[in-house]
């Protein structure tokens, strides 16, 4: 291993300093510092409207930060557009599904695979390359449980099935950093269990950041948890520390825990 890559491993894969985002007078995210190490599984918890999704949007570049810097893989990406960050190795899902409703599951995944590769504008199909990408799409569909609906238009999938597709699309480019925004929401219990398994079985080199209100999923998968409230990070710790933390219970989990059985 070269010095550079060693240094990279010592460095966090993602480092936020002083990140803030305002919407008019509202500070949706304020002064967030965050370091995520290579291969870490990080959960971000917080009450509704705490700023979790906004933080994701700032990291992925969908909205610009009002203040602060974002380093990814040791490079300052604060001014890069989303597509450049994707090419550097970020992949994400959206809280509200964003897939291509007029295309088949296969083509959705194909596009997700192609995104970080070259040849977006290629007006001819190369049998070998496309075949390989389509095989990869097939694999992904099977992995998220959509193998049986490979050829169908996404617009005719049920809500939960579209949520499954989201995860598949985020994985497609083999990103270094995968950000999942409430991947379990809308999934049935069976699918949630499958999702948890899937996340647990991910390549350990992949770094994962997860927003999730289902504690069964979040606390099982994460090895570190960040809790946000009113745009700020207020607690950080291991799942067990979080479970035991009184603030977390007061602000987020409530007295009993109805999150699931």
């Amino acid at each position: 291993m070269t010095d550079v890559s060693k240094a990279e491993i010592a460095e966090p894969i993602l480092r936020l300093r002083g990140i803030g985002r305002r919407f008019g007078g509202l500070h949706a995210v304020r002064d967030v510092d965050l370091d995520v190490a290579h291969g870490e599984r990080r959960a971000i918890l917080g009450p509704n409207g705490a700023g979790k999704t906004t933080l994701f949007n700032v990291i992925s570049g969908d909205v610009g930060p009002s203040s602060g810097t974002i380093d990814f893989l040791g490079e300052d990406v604060s001014v890069l557009p989303p597509r450049a960050r994707a090419k550097l190795g970020m992949g994400r899902t959206y809280q509200k599904s964003r897939s291509f409703l007029g295309m088949t599951v296969e083509d959705n995944l194909y596009l997700a695979v192609l995104g970080t590769r070259s040849g977006h504008f290629r007006p001819i199909s190369l049998r070998k390359r496309d075949g390989e990408m389509r095989d990869r799409a097939r694999e992904l569909a099977d992995a998220v449980g959509l193998g049986g609906r490979f050829g169908e238009l996404v617009g005719s999938l049920s809500h939960g099935e579209q949520r499954q597709l989201e995860v598949g699309m985020a994985r497609a480019s083999n990103p270094h950093l995968m950000m999942l925004d409430e991947p379990a929401s809308g999934l049935s219990r069976g699918e949630r269990v499958a999702l948890t398994e899937l996340l647990l079985s991910l390549d350990p080199a992949i770094t994962l950041i997860l927003i999730e209100h289902d504690m069964d999923v979040a606390l099982r998968v994460a090895d570190r948890v960040t809790m946000m409230h009113d745009g700020r990070v207020i607690v950080e710790g291991t799942p067990d520390e979080i479970r035991a933390n009184q603030t977390v219970h007061d602000l987020y989990l409530g007295r009993g825990n109805h999150s699931d059985v």
């Binding site: 999704t53 409430e182 999934l187 069976g190 504690m215 987020y252 409530g254 007295r255 109805h258």
Partner: protein, 244 residues
């Protein structure tokens, strides 16, 4: 109550093009809360839309509310009969602010005037803080709160909710469970579709299970939360013991 059920669903079929999404669904609700669970893509949303009259599925069969036939009736008339709807995916209006969502509906039509805009803000203080935000400028959970508030404001006597817990933080869910229990005691009937079994069983004693477009089983909250075999059969959950 008299012998007429509040909601009587009888032999309902629904199609998307040639694909059948509901297959001869029949059940009745006399009052109180009923929950329906089922895996993704089983037809739960299709059923809710069929009751309220929301496109695009083609629906046949009979759905009666207090004896009035709903199939073929435009949905605004269905809503006026006293059916409130919290749709899956929230379906807010991006062009309206939070406040406008509520004001647009408040005070319309007859019925009990139990709910007012102020009461909704009381129920979800978060919405009051965001009253000027557009429907698409809310966080996922806030959107869900607004969708619920919007439905309550129609002052329904039957409330149909399609996965209302989606995206909500655990504390809010807890809060909602209490609220719905209270409302049920005040006479509101609820049909709840849920993936969150905790919420489903906390609110409703009666549980319907939908599999592949039909009601496959009717059971109770207690049974559903404890009977792993039932869960595995209908919800695809592997009992923990079998996992490695």
């Amino acid at each position: 109550m008299s012998d007429v059920p509040l909601l009587a669903v009888e032999g309902v079929n629904a199609f998307y093009g040639t694909a059948q999404a509901l297959d001869d669904v029949s059940f009745e609700i006399l009052g109180g809360s009923t929950a329906m669970v089922g895996r993704n893509g089983m037809g739960k949303t299709t059923l809710c839309n069929a009751i309220v009259g929301v496109p695009p599925a083609r629906v046949s069969g009979s759905i009666r509310y207090n004896g009035t036939e709903l199939v073929g009736r435009p949905s605004y008339k269905v809503a006026k009969l006293g059916i409130g709807y919290v749709p899956q995916g929230r379906r807010l209006f991006p062009s309206l602010s939070v406040d406008e969502h509520l004001r647009m509906i408040a005070g319309r039509g007859g019925g009990s005037k139990r709910w007012t805009v102020a009461k909704i803000y009381e129920l979800f203080p978060r919405l009051a803080e965001r009253r000027r935000n557009g429907g698409a400028q809310l966080s996922g959970g806030e959107q869900q709160m607004l969708a619920i508030g919007r439905a309550l404001l129609t002052n329904p006597s039957l409330l149909i909710m399609d996965e209302p817990s989606e995206g909500l933080a655990p504390a809010i869910i807890e809060h909602l469970v209490e609220t719905f229990r209270r409302l049920e005691q005040e006479g509101l009937a609820i049909l709840l579709i849920e993936q969150n079994l905790g919420m489903a069983t906390a609110i409703a004693e009666r549980q319907l299970v939908m599999v592949a477009g039909s009601i496959a089983a009717e059971t109770t909250a207690a049974e559903l939360s404890t009977d792993m075999e039932l869960q595995r059969r209908y919800l695809g959950v592997e009992p923990l013991a079998e996992r490695t």
